[in-house]
Amino acid sequence: MNDSTQTGMKQPIEWAMETDVDPFFMLANWLVRDALEEKTDAVTALTSAETTLDEFRTLKRVFKQLRVQGETVSDRRLGARLYAISIAGAFVFHDRIITTQSRERLIRAFTDLRNDTQLPGPLHAVAERALERMSRED
């Protein structure tokens, strides 16, 4: 067994630690790490201006899939919220609407997200900024 194998063995231990500490958001972080090589966690990816428009589109598709095929109710709820946040992020950071959903539906969804206590603060902020931007464009 060499040093690189030992280093590789750390990762499964880390996964078990993450499962123990933050099972709710862990799944989102893992999805982001698999889908976008450069990103390490969901909150950073969804709240950063450095996330490209294509990356937001990828995140939207990945979280939509989680909404549809998530193993548990919590997974599907998380998928639904992060799907909507991906749309909000693309709008806030790239000024693009990456969905065919109507404006009214987007406003309702972003309002729900802003008030969702389960989501980390920075994600609320993205929803808030998306709402502000939409109101400025009225």
Partner: protein
């Protein structure tokens, strides 16, 4: 919506397949099961020890064999890393297994104490080697070796400590290796039994093998084509389902070596540290 906001064809196609509007998407019905599939319930470390001690149990032999199979590599690694040759280390491992590990002594202590099984096993092997060393040196001890506390003796003790650290490290690495491999096998069996062979295959080829063997992760597109999936989103979702199952199985297997109700975070941190920087 303002004209400057463009919607790509790709997005339109995806959205067209959507059945519900966005605000409804956020309202997921209650009442459905909210736990991911539980890891398989193979015999735990403690139930297996209890069974190995119960001579009336029809599965005693099997439990003893399984315990030996699990822990032989870590015991051997410790003894080998303490400076013994392969042949001597094999003999000592066999001796420890027969005399201490299966000789009721260790297993009885383990069941009584219900402490961390890894620590108990490690200290037992260390004591066994110390006894063996004493037996070997009693025969050839001579006055020329110097009194206790001399510079030579101090140096020899430091060397012994150093060797012990290396041996402990070898033991821990083998211990972790066994935990990971066993958790992999259990996860694979559970997923396949659940009709989720694709989940396992994707997890193995994108994550597990790259971690453990340094293999290059198989691209999303290749796995998507292989399993007839709808591209990266589905591949990634299959992957995390299997990864969570594996992580929960590993966590459960770590918990099984700890006293009841003990938080596994300390043990996990120690295992992580044991793998070095």
């Amino acid at each position: 919506m303002a004209e400057k906001h463009t919607i790509s064809d790709k997005d339109q196609i995806q959205e067209a397949s959507q059945e519900r509007p966005l605000d409804d998407w956020l309202k997921i019905p209650e009442g459905e099961g909210d736990q991911p599939a539980n890891p398989s319930t193979t015999a735990t470390c403690w139930t297996m020890i209890g069974d190995a001690l119960n001579e009336n149990s029809p599965t005693t032999k099997g439990s003893r064999e399984e315990l030996t199979r699990r822990y032989w590599p870590a015991i051997f690694a410790f003894i080998r890393a303490s400076g013994r040759s392969v042949a001597v280390a094999e003999d000592l491992t066999q001796g420890f297994i027969c005399d201490v590990f299966l000789g009721r002594d260790l297993l009885s202590k383990a069941e009584e104490a219900r402490g961390r099984f890894r620590s108990l096993l490690l200290s037992s092997v260390r004591n066994y080697l110390a006894d063996d060393y004493r037996k070997q040196t009693t025969k050839r001890r001579s006055p020329e070796s110097g009194p206790p506390g001399s510079l030579d003796a101090h140096y020899a003790m430091e060397m012994a400590d150093q060797a012990n650290l290396t041996a402990e490290s070898a033991f821990n690495i083998r211990w972790i290796d066994e935990l990971i491999l066993r958790s992999s096998e259990e996860t694979k069996a559970a997923l396949i039994a659940n009709g989720q062979g694709a989940h396992w295959d994707i997890f193995k080829h994108r994550v597990l093998d790259p971690c453990l063997t340094g293999a290059k992760p198989v691209p999303h597109e290749e796995l998507s084509a292989k399993w007839n999936l709808n591209g990266l989103p589905q591949v990634s979702n299959y992957l995390v389902t299997a990864k969570r199952r594996f992580a929960r199985t590993l966590l459960l297997n770590v918990r099984d070596t700890l006293p009841e109700n003990q938080d596994p975070s300390l043990e996990l941190r120690e295992l992580f540290k044991a793998l070095g920087n």
